[in-house]
């Protein structure tokens, strides 16, 4: 009895298989389509945005520049006029509008250097950071406080009051030294070789070409 039943079903086995097959193929047609999101998920973006590591302080940057640390590139996201007016030495100008240009992506989408965005304050730099992070670019940082803070801390550091702790004085002296490196002249220091204090011409930042995702190779 059972055997007969099995045999009866088995006679239809190819038809059953064909139907399963068609249902699966038809399922693809019928499934609701949705727009795929490019880049990282929103949750990942949020956790990146909350991470404290995404900011880098002006002191750290000044220190890196003075030590000629080659591991980072500075990206000025303000417009060209402001950039030509003043910028941090060795910075590269990529205005926010042009951030997705082919040549800009070569700087942004690479794994070799840290990318540090800055603008006058955090605002545009943060926008640039979000845009790039969403696309999954790596090693992105924002200069905390932007150029305003750069001026108030590095270029024109405030002399601490006498009742402040020693650390403040130490910080002040390093900042002062840094500002001299960046070309600020103090009256008590103007004695010898002025020309040495001048900032060097911005050195060429060697960028890596955008490493394309490795394209899989062919068959035969």
């Amino acid at each position: 009895m059972d055997k007969k039943k099995i045999a009866r079903v088995a006679a239809f086995r190819y038809k059953i298989l064909a139907i399963i097959f068609l249902v699966l193929a038809g399922g693809l047609v019928l499934l609701p389509k949705y727009q795929k999101q490019e880049g990282i998920k929103s949750e990942t973006l949020l956790s990146h945005a909350n991470s404290t590591e995404r900011y880098i302080s002006t002191d750290q940057i000044a220190n890196k520049i003075i030590n000629q640390d080659p591991s980072f590139i500075l990206i000025d996201v303000r417009n060209e006029d402001s950039f030509s007016n003043y910028s941090i030495p060795n910075a590269i100008n990529i205005p926010l509008k042009k951030i997705f240009d082919e040549e800009s992506l070569a700087y942004l989408n690479q794994n070799q250097f840290d990318v540090v965005f800055f603008s006058n304050d955090n605002f545009y730099a943060d926008q640039a950071w979000v845009l790039c992070d969403r696309l999954g670019f790596k090693n992105l940082r924002v200069l905390n406080g932007g150029l305003n803070k750069w001026f108030s801390t590095i270029i024109n550091p405030k002399m601490p009051n006498e009742d402040m702790p020693d650390e403040e004085f130490e910080l002040y002296s390093t900042r002062k030294a840094a500002s001299m490196f960046f070309g600020v002249v103090y009256s008590d220091q103007v004695t010898t070789e002025d020309s040495n204090v001048k900032p060097e011409a911005p050195k060429q930042v060697i960028t890596v070409q955008k490493k394309k995702k490795k394209v899989a190779e062919g068959g035969c």
Partner: protein, 196 residues
Amino acid sequence: MGPLIPNGIIPIEWDSIIAIFIGIVFGFVLESSGFSSSRKLAGVFYGYDFAVLKVFFTAAAVSVIGLYYMDYLGYLDINQLYVHPTYLWGAIIGGVIMGVGFVSGGFCPGTSLCAVAIGKLDAWIYVGGIMIGVFLFSELYSFFEPIYNGYFLGNITLIDSFGWNPYWVIFIFSIIAIVAFAVSDMVRKKVKKVFY
């Protein structure tokens, strides 16, 4: 998200090891399906055995459905897969030549490797022939080059060429495959049996 090696989820060093394992399974399935027998393969052209057609179309349909489901569920990015480039006349002329070779020799390169492994001497000769063919092509490369490099249409898919919806293409392809299976079974009943 896949593909795993191009996205660096599996280190590239595994590439060759994975290649061997995939090859083993590939060879095992081909041989077990009877693709090491040239007479079974040639049967598809004379109507006494449609194993090639069945295996080939089932494999293509299963893989394309599976890949699109994986793409839909987000395990795989279908745009990152290697798409065989389309050189219009290269594909046609090459295909025509291969078709004649197929009927004459009774193997295609993959199946001939299986037959080599189980000691079919005709397959050894066939593989030797393929090497001679490659050698001839390379020596006469300047003659073949216009076809080889010409009429390049890019790494396009049917979706790019005709603007079809891929899901409908797959659905229609599956129907064609099933109709082909049914027809092949009917043809086989009519054709005189050949024992091999």
